[in-house]
Symmetry: C2
Subunit: 404 residues, 2 copies
């Protein structure tokens, strides 16, 4: 993975402190150590799932689904995965019915994922599916040790897996929460963790990403009142769900009351897909209020060498002949470069990330890169990156409504 | 369709002027008159497409695809549509290959949609598909009258349909651009236009929406420097692509240099889906910078009455029994109401739109409502709502790169 910044900023004392804070956080924040975890028990668990199982269905929402979905959707088109992964993540009845219609319940293993063990969406859906398919060995529960959900699972003799300590939902994709569904579908989870570990090493062991991440986070933090919207513009349809994961990670981690001032701050994440969103959101970036930074993501090698624009001349449309013989993978990256150049002219803060190819290692790197960046920015804008007190109010109101 | 504002604002002279401007725009801006168009020629065209055709594939990007996709994806789960609709809207080679693999080219009719007739994405893909399937009667071209694309289409004896005059891409969904692909799939396009016409009548003929739209647009315009991010929070998975259509309409229409000051202004659109994004973006709305307004969309009747949470007690999880016997459609709307209440407590500017049910008439209403709102806000913040000069720079750079 390459990352090029199109802006510069001088690192000072504040950055050294932020770096030290992330070093120190490794003792108390669980996600940092996920890259070096031993996955043998996960692989052992997966081997015990019957080979008759053709579909894996995650029943979970937010941090319990977005990460696995991001990785699965990135790899699905290019890897020969062994099972299909589905996500029940909405109480929309039409959505529930649609997904149920698309799977054979008797050949599906369900992963019920809830950190707290009492998520309303997850258990509404679980009860509904249970009423149609009441076999304990078709379910695995992933939750915090000692939760009531664990007690329930033991009561019905179903499998339980534990979340590691001090790993919040949106930072949990490289734990059992993401690794179990992905491994069950044949994703190389060791390569995934290796990709994450490469970024971790580069950052903590003074590799080239240390300076990059410190500069980028300092720029975002220093200018957070001006450039408070951060666009992730990915030139690959396969990164669509990665963008959704990023939106949760960024928005829920950084949209907070400041620790020392209690002032409301926040960086607003926006996920975009190129070239499609050149025909949608680009106008706003170019000519709208100058409150946005943009990070481009490019794929070096799409592994689709034979998808080439043929050498055809269309009468009256000869001007389009400049496209002939061009591989689509070259065209899409030229489109990305053209937008970068156009935005550079406008002095909009930019950087670009290039993934060499589409595989588990690279998406693991991208995930960990964003987790580190989020931790750094959170530190610098003085928020608690790992909590989400703002979502409680609506939950309490719903509970009251339900109790009536 | 109901629309309830949770804020109030006193209408003054400025609103009367904006209303008169929209009245006057009807003479020069084509989308206003689309609801009353005669669709008999479109229906006649559709009858001439062979009944052997099973799939319809739109080759188009931005305004040429987003609208039809929004409506199709909204109706697909609840209506018995006669054909499947696909969208080639990316130069991502993996995406192109995926869609091609999912259709039988010999039983597909392709709609090549390009207003200008020279869109790079559209013609790269068209050439590629043409090299695999070279039968003129499998293609229909939709473009401006007299374009080079029309000349080409006539040269190969393929069908051509014309965009109506003065209808920009992002306002074109209720023209042939959206109506043809939708009608080919069996969508009731008359009902769609009827829904739009209901909104038009309510607005222009002093119905209840006139005051609502004038108040809402005035609030957005007056506070555009403070509440410059507008979130559309739809409690229905089926509105996901409607959100994408809204993002283009809003962002590309309102992100501009002001007409009289040349100052960069813009309202940033964000599409959210509930309840999923309660576990993602909500924290940022609740506790982040107070720069967001939120519009909720609810569906009154999901037409899925039998999707009910069963009356099951889970040992150790008895607290979840409050969910029992609740239809999912009730639960999802209770979730929406809970978030509205929580945000009201925080004095965040809100409104809610309720669609009685999921059908063509209602989505037609929603589309036209947003088009009118966009026109009004554009008028009030002093931008040209209908152009998009900011996207040209990247196109010119790409053309230079291609010519090398």
């Amino acid at each position: 993975m390459k990352n090029k910044l199109y802006f510069d900023i001088i690192l000072r004392e504040k950055s050294r402190m932020a770096f030290e804070a992330t070093q120190k956080e490794q003792e108390s924040v669980g996600y940092y150590s996920l890259p070096e975890q031993d996955v043998s028990s996960i692989l052992e668990y997966c081997r015990n799932i019957s080979s008759d199982v053709e579909d894996i269905a995650v029943i979970g929402i937010g941090g319990s689904s977005l990460g696995a979905k991001a990785i699965y959707e990135f790899l699905k088109p290019v890897e020969n995965l062994s099972r299909t992964l589905h996500f029940f993540e909405s109480t929309d009845p039409i959505n529930i019915k649609n997904i149920l219609d698309s799977i054979n319940v008797d050949k599906t293993h369900f992963l019920v994922i809830s950190k707290s063990g009492t998520t309303v969406e997850t258990f509404s859906i679980y009860k509904y599916i249970l009423s149609k398919h009441d076999k304990s060995d078709s379910y695995t529960f992933i939750t915090d040790p000692g939760s009531d959900l664990e007690k329930y699972a033991k009561h019905i003799n179903a499998s339980v897996l534990h979340l590691p300590k001090h790993v919040g939902g949106r930072f949990s994709v490289l734990s059992v929460v993401g690794l179990v569904p992905l491994a069950l579908c044949g994703v190389d989870i060791k390569a995934l963790l290796q990709g994450a570990d490469n970024i971790k090493a580069s950052y903590f062991k003074n590799g080239y990403l240390q300076e990059i991440l410190l500069k980028k986070s300092l720029f975002y933090a220093k200018n957070h009142a001006k450039y408070h919207i951060n666009c992730l513009f990915a030139y690959s349809e396969s990164l669509k769900y990665f963008c959704e994961w990023y939106v949760q990670l960024w928005g829920e981690s950084l949209g907070k009351k400041q620790r020392h001032s209690a002032f409301n701050v926040g960086l607003t994440p926006i996920g975009l897909i190129g070239p499609k969103d050149q025909h949608s959101f680009l106008q706003l970036i170019m000519e709208g209020t100058r409150d946005k930074s943009v990070t481009f993501i490019k794929i070096d090698d799409f592994q689709e060498d034979l998808c080439i624009i043929p050498d055809i001349t269309l009468p009256h449309l000869e001007s389009l002949d400049t496209l002939n013989n061009l591989p689509f993978s070259t065209l899409i990256n030229m489109q990305c470069d053209s937008v970068i150049e156009a935005l550079k002219e406008e002095n909009i803060p930019l950087d670009s990330i290039t993934l060499p190819k589409m595989d588990a290692e690279n998406i693991g790197s991208l995930i960990y890169y964003y987790e580190l960046l989020t931790s750094l920015v959170g530190q610098l804008i003085d928020v608690n990156t790992y909590d989400q007190p703002g979502v409680e109010a609506a939950k309490i109101i719903l509970k009251k409504k339900l109790a009536l």
